[in-house]
């Protein structure tokens, strides 16, 4: 059975179908297969670190986990993670809203289209972190600077994807919407946004990945003044104190949060939307 089913099978009479058995479902489940691989990688890490036998250069999985539990218990790591998350939520939301406004302006007016095309082609290739020195000059040492670079990291890829999605909406669906007398914002939100949702979701995912990376990178650069830095600052600090297993624990936290958002939050949205609609590409 290699053919990918496109229908949910609900309309097929019972004589034509049977329920899959547990091991068939397990094998079909990407999550189960990935979990297996993850366990394999963890074992490989432990074995390799035992061979290297140098906790300063390459701490073992067990040391890392022990350190991880310790800083989670002491509340240090959750506090740092929370600090990072608080910043990113604000900055990500800001970037997405800015991107949305730009795109709506772009599809409704000709100058808007030109503006968006010029801005995205200029700023999309520019790594956001390159703006940090300038941001520090303008906004000083602190979170406004980081928020500025993250908004920059999010806006352009998200705007570009929403715009691509809007432009790709079939003329038939547009005609259906206009046939019902929809125009302006009603047309955008009831026809264009859902029809372009696969692209919008892709944009949101890329935007998330960019912003998360940018945040950690920016925090590595400073945090110097404020004692309450985020995860990036935690990693930097622990490296200076030569607690390398805690550096690993910090990196692990960055990965876990990234994977959780990608694999749980976005996955949830995806299952409920584009997958259900048969629009996933």
């Amino acid at each position: 059975m290699s053919y990918k089913a496109e229908a949910d099978g609900a309309d097929i009479p019972d004589e034509m179908k049977r329920t899959l058995s547990l091991h068939e479902k397990l094998y079909n489940s990407a999550a189960a297969r990935k979990l297996f691989l993850l366990i394999f990688l963890a074992i490989a890490w432990q074995l390799y670190s035992m061979r290297v036998d140098n906790p300063l250069m390459f701490p073992s999985l067990v040391d890392t986990m022990a350190g991880f539990v310790e800083v989670v218990r002491s509340g240090e790591l959750p506090l740092r993670a929370l600090a990072s998350l608080r910043v990113i939520v604000v900055a990500y939301a800001g970037g997405v809203i800015l991107a949305g406004l730009l795109t709506v302006f772009a599809i409704t007016t000709r100058p808007g289209t030109d503006l968006l095309e010029i801005l995205t082609s200029m700023f999309n290739p520019l790594p956001a972190i390159a703006l940090l020195p300038l941001a520090l000059l303008w906004f000083g040492l602190g979170y406004p600077s980081i928020i500025f670079v993250i908004v920059h990291a999010v806006s352009w890829p998200v705007a570009l994807n929403i715009y691509t999605g809007f432009m790709g909406v079939s003329s038939t669906l547009r005609m259906v919407g206009r046939n019902y007398g929809l125009s302006g914002f009603a047309f955008v939100f009831r026809i264009l946004v859902p029809a372009a949702f696969p692209h919008i979701l892709t944009g949101l995912k890329i935007g998330w990945a960019f912003s998360w990376r940018t945040l950690i990178a920016a925090e590595l650069v400073f945090g110097v003044s404020s004692g309450s830095g985020g995860l990036g600052w935690f990693i930097y600090e622990k490296k200076n104190q030569l607690d390398i297993n805690l550096v690993f624990a910090g990196l692990l936290t960055v990965i876990i949060i990234g994977v959780l958002v990608e694999g749980v939050v976005f996955k949830f949205i995806e299952e409920r939307t584009v997958v259900r609609w048969g629009m996933k590409f």
């Binding site: 496109e6 229908a7 949910d8 099978g9 609900a10 309309d11 079939s170 038939t172 669906l173 005609m175 259906v176 206009r178 046939n179 019902y180 007398g181 929809l182 009831r190 026809i191 859902p194 029809a195 949702f197 939307t273 259900r276 609609w277 048969g278 629009m279």
Partner: protein
């Protein structure tokens, strides 16, 4: 059966000397030239012509999606300026259902956007319409899980749901298998007997035109022009069935007269 029926005065839909053009980057394409016809209330008018003769373009212009380069279109005496729900449309394309809504929600959405109906009323009405096109069972399925014929049936139900007096259909059965197509044609005729909506139906099939139309307008290829017009006598009995065969022959001759290439 009378040829070239004179147009009745003050027809429901009046198309006068309509010329439709597309501007591409390099060319100005004329899709139809100087097309005139009238559609009376409760007529089932068929626009018949070979592929590329501008049938879809004509329907899109009546739908209000395309500004005439010349001539005029008037519905109920008022010129058509923009799209609107006073004209129900079934498009040629299979992707006309909103893929993010179930079959039922597609119909509910159409009702709620175009008429003053509560959600409960709309849902109830949608269910009744789904039953009418024998799709009650798949109301909760999303369009991607439906076959081509099912999608077109939902599109027809959705189009009936907005209760417009005129319905425009663009080759809705063109890509269906012969059996399904015949069933859908029968279904459409049955639905028509219920509310007697005015129908403008586009097709390139002579058989389909004769099966469905009370009047047939034959268009010439590229650019589309009206070459002839027929009325189909629906009061005839089965013993006169031979007439429809001769009608088919005459239309075939007219269509081929205008085609200066060999198929």
């Amino acid at each position: 059966m009378a040829d070239n029926v004179p147009s009745c005065a003050g027809a429901f839909l009046e198309v006068r000397n309509l010329t439709l053009q597309y501007k591409t980057d390099r060319y100005l394409v004329t899709a139809t030239r100087d097309v005139s016809f009238d559609v009376g209330e409760s007529d089932r008018l068929v626009l018949l012509g070979p592929s590329g003769c501008g049938k879809s373009t004509l329907l899109k212009a009546i739908g209000g999606f395309l500004k005439p380069a010349g001539g005029s279109i008037a519905l109920n005496g008022r010129p058509i300026k923009a799209p609107g729900a006073d004209r129900g449309i079934v498009f040629q394309e299979f992707d006309q259902l909103l893929p993010w809504k179930t079959a039922r929600e597609n119909i509910v959405f159409a009702i709620r956007q175009t008429r003053n109906a509560s959600r409960e009323e709309a849902v109830e009405e949608a269910q009744a319409l789904l039953e009418k096109v024998s799709l009650a069972r798949v109301g909760d399925s999303y369009p991607h899980a439906l076959s081509g014929g099912m999608k077109q049936r939902v599109a027809i139900a959705r189009c009936l749901a907005i209760k417009s007096k005129i319905i425009l259909m663009d080759e809705p059965f063109a890509s269906l298998d012969a059996l399904t197509r015949q069933k859908m044609q029968e279904e459409l005729l049955y639905l028509w007997t219920e509310t007697k909506f005015t129908l403008v139906f586009v097709t390139h099939s002579i058989d389909e035109a004769i099966t469905l139309g009370t009047r047939i307008i034959v268009l010439s290829p590229h650019p589309g022009r009206v070459v002839d017009e027929f009325s189909v006598d629906w009061t005839r009995g089965p013993e006169e069935y031979g007439e429809s065969a001769s009608l088919k022959e005459r239309i075939t001759q007219i269509l081929f007269r205008d085609i200066d290439y060999v198929i």
